[in-house]
């Protein structure tokens, strides 16, 4: 018997932001067909407007109670809605950055913005998917748009190399995810997360190997997307080769969306399996990613590459938060401080999940504005004539920036301090929330490693500041060209980085509410 599904308008609420983005993207593509004049700034404006509208809808959604929608294929919960709002913020800023960047290279086309909006729609949908096929399709919507964006500037070998690398590895990781989902389907007979979760304990007893394999593959697929060590190899090359505004979007949006999906999926999929397994997995990954990202960034003189490695390190801090969600409780805790053990500071381990969700969301918000700003400054400093020489992003480019463009230098200093986690910036608060949650969960050793590795990070972030303010400008240095959309994006991110650091205002309260994730 076929049951005709009954949808109400309420069911479509979660996908509204994505719908707005997709419609705007289609309009942009059509506008390219009927374009007569060569001025395309209005396209950037239109795209920005779409992100603003979509973001507004997402913020509205964020205050709805968490519930399943579209027959359990998607969910509407604050976690995914806030994520969508952040994606819209990030995409809007990236679009503004792109306008000047592309114009400078005679490459401004409507399809670029359309691709960005498609990618944003994919991210938004990925964050709210609650079923494996939906998850996979949305992952691909997001990924295919970013593959194309990576190779958008078809000048020289680098963009195509980066695009191809990203495509191969991305397709590989998506395949892993799909294969894992198939194995889990085989074990449980369901694809909806909530049904998989219910059937998992029995399936684990029947065939533990199958469940482990399925879980491992699904997590590996996500680990690729969030660039967790040891699945991070693609990041530096792809980040370096992609047009800088696209890199900004990838570092903020793609990673954030994958993270949200990772958290949601793993919360559902740990039922029935030994509780220490996910903890060991996530804490091990967090450890490697925090240390690896920071150590690899250390020797980089290429600022764009340094930021790519640093984005790996930041994924590590987020994984630390995820590990805190799965920290051992009760009798499983110890009194010795270790990297893979939970040592409650005072008696029992409290329930840290709302602290972790708040930490993850605030960290992602902070990282979105900071990394958009940092990559934005880099993109504004790029010169076309350097592209063939391969030293476009050398530290030397920043030497004496304080004399040439004091405003940019100040903004970049704020971004660097925020990435390093120095007060009073948003990066500091984000780290504080995450590390607090980890310490509350008893992960003293892991939190200590995190704090120490972020000190290593302060070194390479401050090196950029030192170059900007303390080195004289090289003789051939030119004053970078200004473009109002770029500067608008830089100002917005700088104000957000410092403002949210001083007045995190009602946002932390919103992020800290209960019932953030559907079903948890």
């Amino acid at each position: 018997m076929i049951v005709t599904p009954v949808f109400t308008l309420n069911d479509f609420l979660p996908v509204m932001p994505a719908a707005v983005l997709v419609v705007a993207a289609i309009v942009l593509m059509l506008s390219e067909v009927f374009l007569v004049s060569a001025t395309r700034t209005y396209q950037a404006m239109l795209a920005t407007l779409a992100t603003v509208v979509a973001g507004g809808v997402a913020v509205h959604n964020a205050f709805e109670p968490a519930r399943a929608a579209l027959q359990g294929y998607a969910v509407l919960d604050p976690f995914s809605s806030w994520m969508t709002a952040m994606v819209c913020l990030g995409t809007g800023l990236a679009v503004l950055l792109s306008s000047g960047f592309l114009k400078h290279r005679n490459a401004e086309r409507g399809e670029f913005y359309a691709l960005m909006l498609f990618a944003a729609a994919g991210m938004s949908l990925l964050a709210l998917s609650a079923e494996f096929i939906t998850l996979f399709i949305n992952l691909e919507v997001m990924s295919i748009a970013t593959y194309a964006l990576t190779a958008f500037l078809r000048r020289g070998p680098r963009p195509s190399e980066a695009g191809f690398k990203y495509f191969i590895l991305g397709a590989f990781s998506a395949a892993l995810l799909l294969y894992g989902a198939a194995l889990l389907y085989g074990a449980t007979g369901a694809t909806k997360l909530i049904e998989v979760s219910a059937a998992l304990p029995a399936a684990f007893i029947a065939s533990p190997g199958l469940v482990y394999a399925g879980l491992g593959l699904v997590l590996a697929g996500f680990a690729f997307k969030v660039a967790a060590v040891p699945f991070h190899m693609w990041t530096p090359d792809v980040y370096e080769g992609a047009p800088t505004p696209v890199t900004a979007l990838m570092s903020a949006g793609v990673k954030a969306a994958a993270f949200i999906a990772l958290v949601r999926t793993s919360l559902f999929l740990v039922k029935g399996i030994p509780p220490e397994m996910p903890f060991y997995l996530f804490s091990g990954m967090a450890l490697l990613t925090m240390i690896g990202g920071n150590l690899l960034a250390l020797p980089q003189r290429n600022v764009k590459r340094m930021l790519a490695y640093s984005s790996i390190a930041h994924a590590g801090y987020l994984l630390l938060g995820v590990a805190a969600l799965f920290a051992p409780q009760g009798a499983a805790t110890t009194t010795d401080v270790g990297v893979f053990s939970a040592t409650p500071l005072m008696g029992l381990v409290p329930n840290v999940s709302s602290g972790v969700y708040k930490g993850i969301l605030f960290y992602l918000l902070g990282y979105t504005v900071t990394s958009l700003g940092a990559f934005g400054t880099i993109s504004a400093l790029e010169r076309r004539e350097d592209e063939t020489r391969g030293n476009t992003w050398d530290l030397e480019r920043f030497a004496g920036l304080a004399q040439r463009r004091p405003g940019w230098a100040l903004a970049m200093a704020a971004f660097m301090l925020s990435l390093g986690g120095v007060p009073p910036t948003v990066g500091f608060l984000g780290k504080l929330f995450l590390f607090s949650a980890a310490v509350d969960a008893g992960l003293l050793g892991l939190a200590a490693v995190g704090i120490l590795s972020s000190v290593v990070g302060v070194y390479f972030y401050l090196r950029v500041v030192v170059y900007m303010f303390m080195r004289p400008a090289p003789a051939d240095a030119t004053t970078p060209v200004r473009h109002w959309t770029t500067e608008l994006a830089l100002i917005t991110s700088a104000v957000a980085v410092v403002g949210l650091g001083i007045v995190p205002g009602p946002i932390t309260e919103w992020f800290g509410r209960l019932g953030m994730i559907f079903g948890h």
Binding site: L345, M346, V422, E509
Partner: protein
Amino acid sequence: MNSIFDSRILNLVIFFPLAVAALVAFLPKDEKGQIRAVTFAGMIGSFLTTLWAWMRFETRSPVEFQLEYRLEWLSDVGISYHVGVDGLSVALVLLTGVLGPMVVLSSWNFVAERVKEFHVALLVLQTAMFGAFTSIDTMLFFMFFEAVLVPMYLLIGVWGSEERQKAAVKFFLYTMVGSVLMLLALFAVYFLSAPSGARSFDYSTMYNGMMGGSRELATYLKANPDGNGVGLTPVAFALFKYGPWLFLAFALAFAIKVPMFPLHTWLPDAHVQAPVAGSIVLAGVMLKLGTYGFWRFAVPFFPVAARQYQNFFAALSVIGIVYGALMCLAQRDIKKLIAYSSVSHLGFCMLGIFAFTAEGATGSAYQMLNHGVSTGALFLLFGMLYERRHARLMSDYGGIARVMPVFAAFFLIVTFSSIAVPGTNGFVGEFLVLLGTFKSNLPLAFGVIASTGVILGAAYMLWMVQKVFFGQVTHQENLALKDMDKRELAAALPFIVLIAVMGLRPQPFLDVLNTSTERYIARAKFAAGDGTSDERLVRVNVRQLPRVAVAQAPAPTPMPEGMVRPARPMMLQQLQPVKPALQPGDAKVLP
């Protein structure tokens, strides 16, 4: 008794210079005279605000942090805008305020380029230093502590001498390394001192949270010195295991700032390259941020570890005293000589802090003020000479007393203060420190060796004075030097007055300092397991934030008998019933 202004004075003190800086920033760039005049007037105004704070400070009040103001800020993570002063900090605030106007006078003609930026930097620097000395919230302190670096870096790097860039970067990086480590230790203390939900970066939460653990650990270590810490409560156990490391992280940050031997190498470079104004502020106030940090944070947070490392730090201080003095004897560059003399003088401050005796601590606190006055004056006076001749070597001068008799007289008085001649302020401080060292549990040798520093000090200073001021005029160009003009007299006279007043009537200053000395010593003793066992006497009592007080704060401890905690008006309690005024004498009568 308590006026509505009391809780706002410190806000005025901190932000008045910043407001003047904003005003100066709007003045036209070429109006150099106007910029200087407005800055000078602003500094005088800022000095008056600090004087007001000093007058409102009550030495006989049982309240530790007076003129307190607390505003909710970042409640999620337990950071609040919380300022207040105790005896030491109000004195250092006054010192900062006094030096302000002289700094502007000292560079009236000296700085001719980028005048506006220079004065804005000076004013911002004042704000940052006031903020650092008055913060009760450690994160606020950290931010101000870091904020000091930026204008100072600019002062050295932009308006300094030939090698200014190198010196500025060296200064910046040294201090930065220390402060990053301190931030780490701050996090650790933050997590250690309170359970989840009640965590706060406030000084009171941090200190009160670890106080019991320190005491417990000290008692435990006394009973079994080689124990492995089994059976301790979590806080005490954590202090047992990581306390020394955390203490060293704090200590390193502040020792760089002081600077203690062997971390002093940035100081001579910075001083030599800095413009006069930079040198005065650097020596006069900024170095005290280091000693103040030991006094306020490093030692009270980790009293047990501080005891364990007492000999080590005392030894470094003594080495610093003697080494600084010996280095002075070898210098030919006058500015470098004064810089090394700072290393020596601040060795006395650190020795007093680590003697853990009342005399030592008082002497150390007094020495901080003295050093600010006398070394500030030395840099100011030498700056006048440098402005005339642009030479720093002693061999460039000689017989200056014949050409500039008034100047020579001023310089000699300041020299006497610097070498601690009885009757000057330097004598009181160094005498108290040495007395405290001899009375302490430190080996006798420490006191004896430190005393030689006094003699060496006299040697190098008088030797320098003799070479520069007496004898024949050896250089033709020195013959035409003009004596001090009115502006220079106005800049130098207050120092002479301060030297005399602080040397002959130290009691009013010591009274103020004693209020914090007593607490410092009581806290050190409490944690060492001797002295009082009543933890209410050493607990830090501050104003609670309204919401936190209801939701999370532990039950308020009753004040000890015979002490009154006067209710002071704050933003939420403006309508208070009028109470009969309390006299300091009748503190036992509860209202």
